[in-house]
């Protein structure tokens, strides 16, 4: 492991300033992802700015919904009474991820920035455009069972591994960030990126910006929600495919719906047009299946992950049936 210096920030503004002082600096909070990546030499920062002491752990009701501090621990968020009452989908997704020990350390902001589990990204002896821009992609033509079927590019077929992000996508979350040029709000669907030819960037966050909170808007959608995760082991495993679904049905007809997919793309996969199309249609398997097919239109399988297309379709239908 490369030697690095360490500084602790006590205020968000200090954190941003401390980070800006050196080019190869990184924020560290729970460390559940970054420490692993440093051990594998995937990340080798010169300096770590510890933000774990910042006062960003609160979960508060606001007039528009709920504000969750960026440093709220995954386990605390999952068990929070407000979250469980208003946004049970988020609880469900968080509890589907990692292990209790990891959830006790992992934070909201860190989970948003969780990096891919692509084997080639983790193995520094292999080419990876995400880790080393321009070095190539080992996964295309390699062992790509866990990789993307949607929205990938010739330079990267990695997926976003987070369960939480999928739920946030279905919940229309807004990410609050602060940086040297002030604060801004980023809708969740704009927060994560597709790889294009710059797969080294997972999100639109600038290098010296700090996530401060995640806002969950209360909507009139009502209805029920469900997070369905399909994986190789019932605990402590990443999703092969996951579905975050919210559905409101009135008189057997879809009134409103959100569907986000995990494990299939570089970002949580949501197509608002498909959802709009479902409104007014009967809440039946036919509607769900045609929505599933529309969500997966243009899916591009690789050698080992073609199963994901059918699996995702089945999972979407199953999740919607569960909440209808």
């Amino acid at each position: 492991m490369k030697l690095f210096s360490y500084a602790q920030a006590t205020k968000p503004a200090d954190a941003v300033q401390l980070l800006g002082a050196q080019t190869q600096s990184k924020f560290i909070a729970g460390g559940t992802n970054l420490v692993d990546l440093m051990k594998y030499d995937v990340e080798s920062p010169d300096r770590l700015v510890d933000i774990s002491q910042l006062a960003l752990t609160q979960i508060d009701a606001t007039d528009k919904g709920l504000r969750i501090g960026a440093l709220a621990r995954n386990s605390d968020v999952a068990a929070n009474a407000l979250v469980m009452k208003q946004f049970p989908l988020l609880s469900e997704a968080l509890l589907a991820g990692a292990s209790p020990q990891l959830r006790n350390m992992a934070t909201m902001g860190g989970n948003l920035l969780q990096r891919t589990r692509c084997h080639y990204f983790y193995d520094v002896s292999q080419p990876c455009n995400k880790r080393a821009a321009g070095s190539g992609c080992g996964a295309i033509g390699g062992y790509n069972r866990i990789h993307a079927i949607l929205g990938s590019s010739p330079s990267c077929i990695a997926t976003n591994p987070s369960d939480m992000n999928v739920a946030l996508a279905a919940l229309d979350a807004v990410v609050q960030v602060t940086g040297p040029n002030g604060s801004r709000s980023i809708p969740i669907l704009d927060f994560h990126r597709l790889p294009g030819n710059t797969p080294q960037r997972d999100t639109v966050l600038e290098a010296n910006e700090l996530i401060t909170a995640v806002d969950l808007p209360t909507t009139a959608i009502g209805g029920k929600s469900h997070y369905l995760k399909v994986r190789d082991r019932a605990s402590y495993a990443f999703a092969l495919v996951s579905v975050a679904a919210r559905l409101a049905v009135e008189n057997g007809v879809v009134r409103d719906v959100r569907i986000a997919l995990g494990g299939v793309a570089h970002k949580p996969w949501r197509l608002p047009d498909v959802e709009k199309n479902m409104v007014g249609k009967p809440a039946t398997e036919t509607t769900f299946r045609s929505a599933a097919k529309a969500l997966l239109a243009g899916a591009q399988p690789h050698e080992h992950n073609a199963f994901k297309i059918q699996l995702a379709e089945n999972a979407i239908v199953r999740a919607l049936q569960t909440v209808s």
């Binding site: 492991m1 002896s125 069972r145 399909v230 019932a234």
Partner: protein, 789 residues
Amino acid sequence: MTQVCKTSKAIGGMGHSMKRKEDGRFLQGKGNYVDDIKLDGMLYMDIVRSPYAYAKIKKIDSEAALKVPGVLAVITGRDLEQYNLHWMPTLMSDTQMVLPTDTVMYQAQEVAAIIATSRYAARDGREAVRVEYEVMKPVIDPFKALDPSAPVLRTDKPGKTDNHIWHWEVGDKARTEAVFASADVVVKEQMHIPRIHVASIETCGCVADYSKVNNHLTMYMTTQAPHAIRTVIALVAGHVGLTEEKVRVISPDIGGGFGGKVPVYPGYVIAIAASFLIGKPVKWIEDRSENLQADSFARDYHITAEMAGTKDGKILATRFKVLADHGYTDASANPSKFPTGMFSIATGSYDYGTTFMEADAIYTNKPPGGVAYRCSFRVTEAVHAIERMTDRYALEIGKDPAQLRFDNFIPKEAFPWHSPTGWIYDSGDYEAGLRKAMDAIDYEGLRKEQTEKRAKGELMGIGISTFTEVVGAGPSKDFDILGIKMFDSAEIRVHPTGKAIARFGTKSQGQGHETTYAQIIAEELGIPAENIQIEEGDTDTAPYGLGTYASRSTPTAGAAAAVAARKLRDKARKIAAYLLEVSEDDLEWEPGKFFVKGAPEKSKTIQELVFAAYTNHPQGMEAGFEATHYYDPPNLTFPSGAYICVVDIDKETGEIKVRRFVAIDDCGNIINPMIVQGQVHGGLTQGIAPAMYESLIYDDDGNILNGTLMDYLVPTAVESPNWETGHTITPSPHHPIGAKGVGESPTVGAPPAIANAIVDALSPYGITHLDIPITPFKVWKALKEKGAI
């Protein structure tokens, strides 16, 4: 048959669910593991490992590493070569590199060792070592290893022209072929028992403490067989002065062994060499990935299995052909005369005429091993083959697999039963076990439910495994490791006040020996188990023995404890006769005292008799109250079990849910029912592991694809079904306390029950076999291929 407790709860002999005596310290975090040992001036070792599966070492540059603060030395194969310590023998009389001088043979092989003043400095030093390799194309696929075009891997062996290690066969080839040629029904499957890893919670490690002044080595290490290790060290390093009396091996508390802590790993030898050269204690503790990637694997048998039978369900013959992938050296941990271990138990619980089994072992560029992972030397592979094929045959002729088993079981009157491969099964009642399991799970009801579900297109399966184990190695006429006979030992010393200490040649790794051995002695002597301290693992104090693995502790050392205790009871009888002034024949024993026949008020307690042995012993009798016994078992023991598993499979995701799992074990007489149940729970969980989750996977270049516990799927509590356990009791007729051993039965018996259940669920779609681990993905793919989804 049921078992009754002969002793009171206060004495705590056999049959009492006494709480484990060792748990007090474990639950309070006061266990003493190798990594807890800290000695003055202790140095730390870390190991540089090869990123390639097969490569020539062109250069090892230590210069930068030696400049890392705290780094004292970098040890390479060339350094060890000067002392002729660069190679060592394996337990199977093959050879294994300690550190390579020229070539690395598998990914994660040891290349050089760093010795430093702290663990961190050692790790920094490791990263600073620069190794230049010339990468070669490895042999990974075992089926291609014998191609004439495959490179010969063991060029260190003069005259070696291929990658073949050995051929083994047993049974009647001609007769078996004749039966197969004329049989009405023949079924055949190609199956793989996957390469897996014990993944014990504690990794391997040691502290090698060589004293130059005393020319003495104390070796603290995670070993299941401390005495054998002492002898091996003396054999390997005797020429540099470490003869056997100069070596003390101490195996402290162990966090799980499962066979993975039987072998001698290169790290141990390098640590000894480093301590010997530097004159200070050297600690080496593997990290998790090193443990998983480099330490001995288990299983990895490719089996062509065939069964011949009649149309109405009578098994006539079996045939098994094995290709054993041993990695680059045969470092199995089998008794020396058994290259395939006890694989020849593969005729199973069934009474039929003939079998023929053969195996070929080959070298590949993978880590060495072949350890008996919670398994009596390849019994797991054998049981999987026979139990899978029994179901396969039942499917072929359309017969219920339970009924087919009843029709073929060895009847209980036929014991001792001579198997076609030469084993003499001591006792068994297979019908009673299966009947009990079927009643517990409502087998008939389940079959009805299955019929209804199938009509609706739902996937539900029921799988049975009625296995026979062969454990307790073993009788000295057949069993040895490197020539040392596989007896085991117990030494009991009773103090004047009637409390005792007993020492054994075995070594608990979680089995609960400190409790169960005490209960055996309590049963025989009437001294409360609470008052009997059990000690294992220190070669300076414990009597010689071959250690704990292959469910051998109760059959061997447990028997030794009973026999040694009986020697002491005989002595107590003599003292009682002397004190009570009667003849020995006039005395009767009840647990805890001798009394005069017809006059029970005239009695002496065992505590009084022991005290007399030190204070008032008869003239001419040796004072003291101690006994030792080296028990050479007359035969192995043959535990059995009847397991039934019910699975529901989600057609759309392939997800497999184990709805119920009933395990009826027969391990003979039970020492501690609670411990047996605990053993069965743990073993069943390690049984679902290879059945549904675990398999070490290598790509064509020999890179391990799942070298961390994130990707190598060890089941957790979440994946563990609710185990429903029970037992039948068929005592071993030749074992002093009628016990058979239980630790491994569940690991051995569970995988085929699960595989049979899953295949049963999928059989309406023409699926006759799936290799374990059967993952949701594998199920989904099979259904897809058959057009079922």
